[in-house]
Amino acid sequence: MSRADDRPSWDRRDFLRHLSAVTALGASGALAPERWPATPAAGALPAVKLPDVQSAATRVEELTLAEAATLLRQGELSPIDLVEACLARIDAYESRLQAFNHVDPDALRAAARASDGRRGGLHGIPLAIKDNFYTAGVPTTGNSHIYADFVPSWDSEVWRRLRERGALLVGKTQMGPLATSRATTPDGVVTTRNAWTIDDPDVYPGGSSSGSGTAVAAGLALGSTGTQTGGSITNPALAQGLTGLKPTMGRVSLRGIIPLTYTRDHPGPIVHDAMDAAIMLQAMAGPDAGDPRSLGLPRPGDYVTAATPVRRDGETRLRRPMRIGVMPDALDALSKEAEFFATMERLGATIVEIPAPADWDVLTSSEFNNTRLPERSEPFLPELRKDVRQFGIVLSSWINGLLLPGAEYVRGQRARLLLLQRLLDDTFQRCDVVIQSAAIPFDITGLPLIAFPTGFDDQNGASLPRGLLLGAPPCAEEDLLAVVAAWQDVTDWHRRRPDLDAPSGDAKGQLERQLDVLEVEADSQ
């Protein structure tokens, strides 16, 4: 079966044909709270059907979201149990991890009590939400002086969808100021730690969704949300042994998220494994009448099914045969990640070396990437005029965005489409998914990208997670999930957890004390 035959509902020419200039529309109204209702006139959200995922876990930090949801449905755990377990870990470790900007234990316990007895969906699942998502009645700071006292009166569409399906808000997570860099204070003092090196602030936790990554890696929440404009979902995932999914641009509404770059911001999940990413995306995805970027895409896929491992004759197999492409700048991965490629071939994939599209180095360069900067400056022009000191450590890029003339901005936008055309015409004619060495090309083009763990590297005496990036054509999140789910069905890297009680500097020893590998099996449904 050809690639085109596999995806009748989505045509790349349609994707290109509709690249209409809606920036102005999106910028003028989609995110302005006074112009859109707090609760759009949306119907009841459809149920998210979760599989039964059995677990041998004995502690909350060992559970995946899917396992916890199964235990909740079966009545073996209550939302109160989960919440108290998360709060106990926050109480024990948060002062060192600095994953959160805001936690309200009383509100969390009250929400858990209200949720108790309800079954299905995300009821009772404690989530950590990045602090640039509006949460009604809860401070939303973007880690910036600009939003220091901001308490929104309405929910971001993402949090609305998660909350109405029963998720509980553990807290708002630390982030790079206004979604830039790793998490620091607005004035640049490093805050959030990598959970694998809790006492070493020099180890990169991934940014800008640093706190979201750390909260999940450290077992302070069952899942989290991040936003990605330049690697900010996939980087924390790679740094902390997690699975991070940046969906196709528009697949998840951005309404109610503090903007960094209107045409490049992507909300998505940071979680333990492909199934958890699928569950979160299933709840988050879909059109939002209040965000024109989310309209007109094909209907969301069946992500949970895509992330459910397939077994034939007792052996794990890819859901369908797929070609995994490797570009020249990712060829190092072929040797370093030999286990991954050998395993995927055994599971039914074909590994293909493919050339980079023409002008790849130019079109993905930092100079072309800089054409995003005016989009961060424009919405904040009033604050820039009022007092530039409000921007703290990140002011430079907001100033630089004011200095890029319109002609160059338009050229940069045209170059984005050229890059997209070449990826679709060249790269994805030769493969179904492609290994990437960096997130930027897929951030520029709005194509989906997933990060997942593949092992550990020794770095300065510490053993730290490493992983791979895998990209796909528009709206092919199911393919990404299927590949990662198959890989995770035969490996246990995603089940490793940092030992937060290990003596400082003994990160390497943590691996020897790893928890017993959990026997987790997702039932096909």
Partner: protein, 103 residues
């Protein structure tokens, strides 16, 4: 016109720091943005004028020539903004989802 396209390197005029800083100041003044509230040069501050101007000069000298060097056929591509297809539909009827679960 399509034959004329490609990457064309051209020499970048040697604009000294003083001239570039004058252009930066003028543009920011036109926009009403005042950098004088920042310390001039204070490494202990989160940000100062020296670092802002250094970053801006580096940005302009790198990004503008790189974009100018890259020729694009006017028939080849249109400006990519948001790769969705519902923008104008939302403009006409913003509360009528076109497809998907909320329809």
């Amino acid at each position: 016109m399509s034959e004329r396209r490609g990457v064309t390197r051209h020499p970048v005029a040697d604009i000294d720091d003083e001239a570039l800083d004058g252009w930066i100041r003028a543009r920011l003044q036109l926009l009403g943005v005042d950098l004088s509230v920042l310390p001039v040069d204070d490494a202990s501050a989160p940000v100062d004028q020296r670092r802002i101007f250094e970053s801006a000069r580096r940005f302009l000298r790198g990004t503008l020539p790189a974009l100018a060097d890259f020729d694009l056929d006017e028939q080849q591509v249109v400006p990519l903004t948001v790769p969705g297809s519902g923008g104008w539909a939302a403009f006409y009827d913003p509360y009528a989802p076109r497809s998907g679960e909320d329809a």
